[in-house]
């Protein structure tokens, strides 16, 4: 079972990789007409421009597929195949976790490898959910699958741990509550970085920047404001969950286990840092005088702190959480 899990993991990574290639194909061959049309659509939020100042961003810009029933071109096919592959990859990813859980006879959250794999799964699933509601966001798939391939690859390379039982310190209800909420919220934060980065690229492109990362914005059909709003909604959803997991359930468990609810162990320090940075993001976004681009950079900074917590802390520092140690 453990071997099956490892093989499924390899397959999942490969399938994400294949999906990524197809997404890239859509990017490269996507017919200018389709993308151009969508991009030229007047951004709906301009409608509210005359409204009183305290209306922040009014209507919801629904980005629909262009209603052009012309024959799908090569790019369109690449895109469809990409989504199909992405679904398969998600299923394989789920299979990895389930077989791992069966092999270990517990939830697959006992060490860093399993933890990252689970968080990445949540991110992937959330992306699929978003795609279901907004098919036009498909072009983000290139970046989300890239992020997933890198996360899973890194997890398998540097954090791989053979299947094993939990140490007694992990036998606790709070283990399940704490770890599951943190995994879900981390997954959403991680995938939230994709629209955040795309917003910055697209916005830069719209403002005439033509150097490397911004050139990617050329083929992004979604209006920048919609990307920005998606970023915010993902973060606004993940933040309270993370607050609960890291700042309430975690301390409750730590109190029962180690006697103190908060002890500034490196893992705790970085959870605190991530929390403060994401709080700053929400603040910045609520402050009218702070530009949305600046706020979004803070969200990306939050992403970096999350990565630091997922990989860095386990590799560089030693703390009580070292059950999470790689290898």
């Amino acid at each position: 079972m453990a071997n099956l899990s490892d093989q499924l993991m390899a397959l999942a990574v490969l399938t994400y990789l294949a999906a990524m290639v197809c997404y890239a194909g859509e990017y490269a061959f996507g017919r200018r007409s389709r993308i151009g049309k969508a991009a030229n659509r007047p951004a709906r939020q301009l409608v509210g421009a005359g409204a009183p100042v305290d209306a922040e961003v009014p209507a919801d810009p629904v980005v629909t597929e262009p209603a052009a029933p012309e024959k799908p071109g090569r790019g369109e096919w690449a895109g469809r195949i990409a989504v199909a592959l992405n679904v398969v990859a998600l299923a394989l990813h789920l299979g990895t976790l389930v077989t791992r859980g069966i092999a270990a006879d517990r939830m697959p959250w006992g060490n860093m490898y399993e933890y990252i794999a689970s968080a990445a799964f949540v991110g992937s699933a959330v992306f699929m959910g978003v795609l279901l509601r907004r098919p036009a966001l498909r072009h983000l798939g290139l970046f989300s699958s890239l992020a997933l391939v890198m996360l899973l690859g890194a997890a398998a390379l540097v954090a791989y741990t053979p299947v094993g039982p939990l140490v007694p310190a992990l036998h606790s209800y709070w283990f399940i509550v704490h770890v599951s909420t943190i995994i879900i919220s981390s997954g959403i934060f991680l995938i939230g970085a994709v629209p955040a980065a795309m917003f910055l690229i697209k916005n830069g492109y719209d403002q005439g920047k033509r150097s490397f990362p911004y050139t990617l914005g050329k083929r992004v059909p979604t209006p920048a404001a919609a990307l920005e709003r998606l970023t915010f909604r993902l973060h606004a959803f993940a933040f309270p969950l993370f607050t609960f997991g890291a700042l309430i359930a975690g301390p409750l468990w730590a109190e029962a286990s180690w006697g103190r609810y908060w002890g500034w162990d490196p893992k705790e320090v970085w959870a605190f840092i991530s929390w403060v940075v994401y709080a700053a993001y929400l603040h910045a976004r609520a402050t009218p005088s702070v530009k949305r681009t600046a706020a979004t950079w803070i969200a990306l900074l939050g992403f970096v702190t999350m990565l630091m917590n997922l990989f860095g802390v386990n590799l560089f520092f030693e703390g009580l959480h070292s059950y999470a140690n790689a290898g």
Binding site: D54, A55, H171, P240, R260, I273, A286, S289, T305
Partner: protein, 544 residues
């Protein structure tokens, strides 16, 4: 949310009055401090300031690693210490940041509390002139009722949907129906920020009035301890706690049970103890990892375990002493190191004088499961085949100098300066339980057996529950703040054209005051009218 910064200065017409410059400076600094931008900067500083706390070992987390850092970086370490690098979260600069942040928070939140209270007490403003310029707009539609009835029916629907609603007659014989919903957003936001404050205060008080101590407890009635400072291996009392304030209890461990997987991974631990609280009698109790023993004003947590060999030393005069010496585990298989020191031996019965050059110490490793090939590490953490590998030393142990040394190793200084000499062979001597080792001077060491020990952390934090309550309330407020949306809708009900139609014309506008994607749908539902002109909101009443 509404514009929070740049709150208009008090509206009094600024009379050209001489302002005390100091006062002006103070006022400006205060404004600056309580602006959202400052809050942002301070939040960042807080995040950045926390980073060294994960990079440098922290005294509060692991004292030993701090001393290791001193050994590894002898030049750098004093500087790090001077800058508070080993106690980041207790350092003055870290405190400066969060105190400023919280001052800013109070300065920011109090006026908002006042504004919100006012908003709660007032009614939504009447409809703006041009509803079509609002983000949501429903073109005029007609209704058969007269304006008063139509306005009343609209208001009823809105109130049922928990909108705060106000109906105002207009000069043209029509009515303005103004409604607002989502006040809980701001309430939640305020609750969140006040809860943060409560958490900070709670943490502070917990630090002042809490205490903790660590104690290594060996099984057996002869090894119990009572809750006094001197009985702890190390302890820390909050600044407002006296040694006399510790709650009275005594404890002895009757049994310690550990089970392991075949790989040696621990499966479960259980400490069985007898506790006497206050002037009561000893009562049995059990506790384990993750499930502490909760006493009155003290919680006992199991944080580690190991073995204590029992050693009987019989000196050359035939006098014997028994010691139970905990050996500290160094790996997952419980290979443990330790020392047994016998300073008061070899006392000449004639002179009754202790010869400080004839003290005896043994140092070495304990293996709960020694392997037959005689390797120096344990192969399993349970005591399946206990083995001791010891070296014997004789001379001055250096215990009398009053220098604080480790109780788990011999004084290296005494060995280097030749005061303490190794008197056993090159290789450590192997002992199994029941075996006796006779030294060169005829004295004997018997390995009597082993006992288990548990490392306990005993703590009390009086504000733990307050902090938890603060955190939970804060989370509640945060969710309200993030997921409730503040929005306004207006209906303008005007009499229909023509003298005797008696009907009314209704126009509607809507304004989401925060980013609210669902508003268009809500607005559409509110303004939907049946073809036969039923009251709006009628249509969806039947639908779930």
């Amino acid at each position: 949310m509404t514009v929070v910064e740049d709150r208009p200065a008090t509206a009094e017409a600024p009379q050209p009055r001489r302002v005390n410059p100091l006062w002006a400076l103070l006022r400006n600094s205060w404004r600056q401090l309580t602006s959202m931008r400052t809050a942002l900067v301070l939040l960042f500083l807080l995040a950045v300031a926390a980073i060294p706390g994960s990079y440098f070992p922290q005294t509060s987390v692991n004292r030993e690693r701090v001393s290791q850092y001193y050994t590894a970086h002898p030049d750098l370490a004093p500087w790090v210490a001077r800058l508070g690098g080993f106690d980041v979260f207790a350092s003055a600069w870290f405190a400066a940041i969060y105190l400023l942040l919280f001052t800013s928070l109070v300065g920011c939140v109090l006026p908002r509390l006042r504004d919100h209270a006012r908003a709660m007490a007032s009614m939504p403003p009447t409809a703006p002139k041009r509803l079509e310029r609002l983000p949501q707009h429903a073109a005029a539609s007609t209704r058969p009722e007269d304006p008063a009835a139509a306005a009343a029916s609209l208001a009823r629907t809105l109130r049922r949907k928990l909108f705060r609603t106000r109906v105002v007659p207009l000069p043209d014989g029509g009515f303005s129906v103004a409604a607002e919903k989502g006040y809980l957003k701001e309430t939640g936001n305020l609750l969140f920020h006040f809860a943060l404050l409560a958490v900070l205060i709670g943490v502070g008080f917990g630090h002042w009035y809490g205490w903790h101590g660590n104690r290594l407890l060996v099984t057996g009635a002869d090894q119990g301890f009572c809750n006094t400072i001197t009985q702890y291996d190390d302890s820390a009392l909050g600044p407002r706690v006296d040694a006399g304030d510790l709650p009275k209890f005594c404890m002895r461990m009757t049994d310690f049970e550990a089970t392991y997987q075949s790989t040696g991974q621990p499966k479960s631990f259980l400490a069985s103890v007898e506790v006497k609280e206050g002037n009561g009698t000893y009562q049995p109790a059990d506790f384990t990892v993750n499930d502490p023993l909760r006493l009155h004003h003290a919680n006992v947590h199991l944080i580690g375990q190991g073995y204590a060999p029992i050693l009987r030393y019989t000196d050359k005069y035939g006098v014997s002493q028994t010691k139970i010496v905990p050996f500290l585990p160094t790996d997952a298989m419980q290979t443990s190191t330790g020392v047994a020191q016998f300073p008061d031996v070899n006392i000449d019965p004639k002179t009754n004088q202790r010869d400080p050059k004839l003290q005896v110490g043994f140092e070495g490793v304990f293996l709960p499961t020694g392997s037959t090939d005689g390797s120096a590490t344990s192969t399993f953490p349970a005591a399946n085949n206990p083995m001791l590998y010891l070296a014997a030393y004789r001379g001055n142990l250096g215990l009398d100098v009053g220098k604080a040394g480790s109780v788990y190793a011999l004084d290296r200084g005494q060995i280097t300066n030749g005061e303490l000499k190794k008197v056993s062979g090159e290789r450590p001597y192997a002992l199994k339980p029941g075996q006796t080792w006779t030294l060169d001077d005829g004295s004997k060491l018997e390995f009597v057996g082993t006992r288990q020990f548990a490392t306990l952390s005993i703590r009390y934090d009086p504000t733990q529950t307050t902090v938890l309550a603060g955190a939970v309330l804060g989370l509640l407020g945060l969710m309200l703040s993030l997921f409730v949306h503040r929005r306004r809708v207006w209906f303008r009900v005007s009499p229909a054209e023509g003298p005797d139609t008696g009907g009314s014309v209704i126009e509607a506008g809507g304004l989401p005051r925060t980013d609210y994607p669902g508003f268009a749908a809500e607005f559409a539902a509110l303004t939907r009218t049946d073809t036969d002109g039923g009251p709006p909101g009628h249509a969806e009443e039947g639908t779930p």
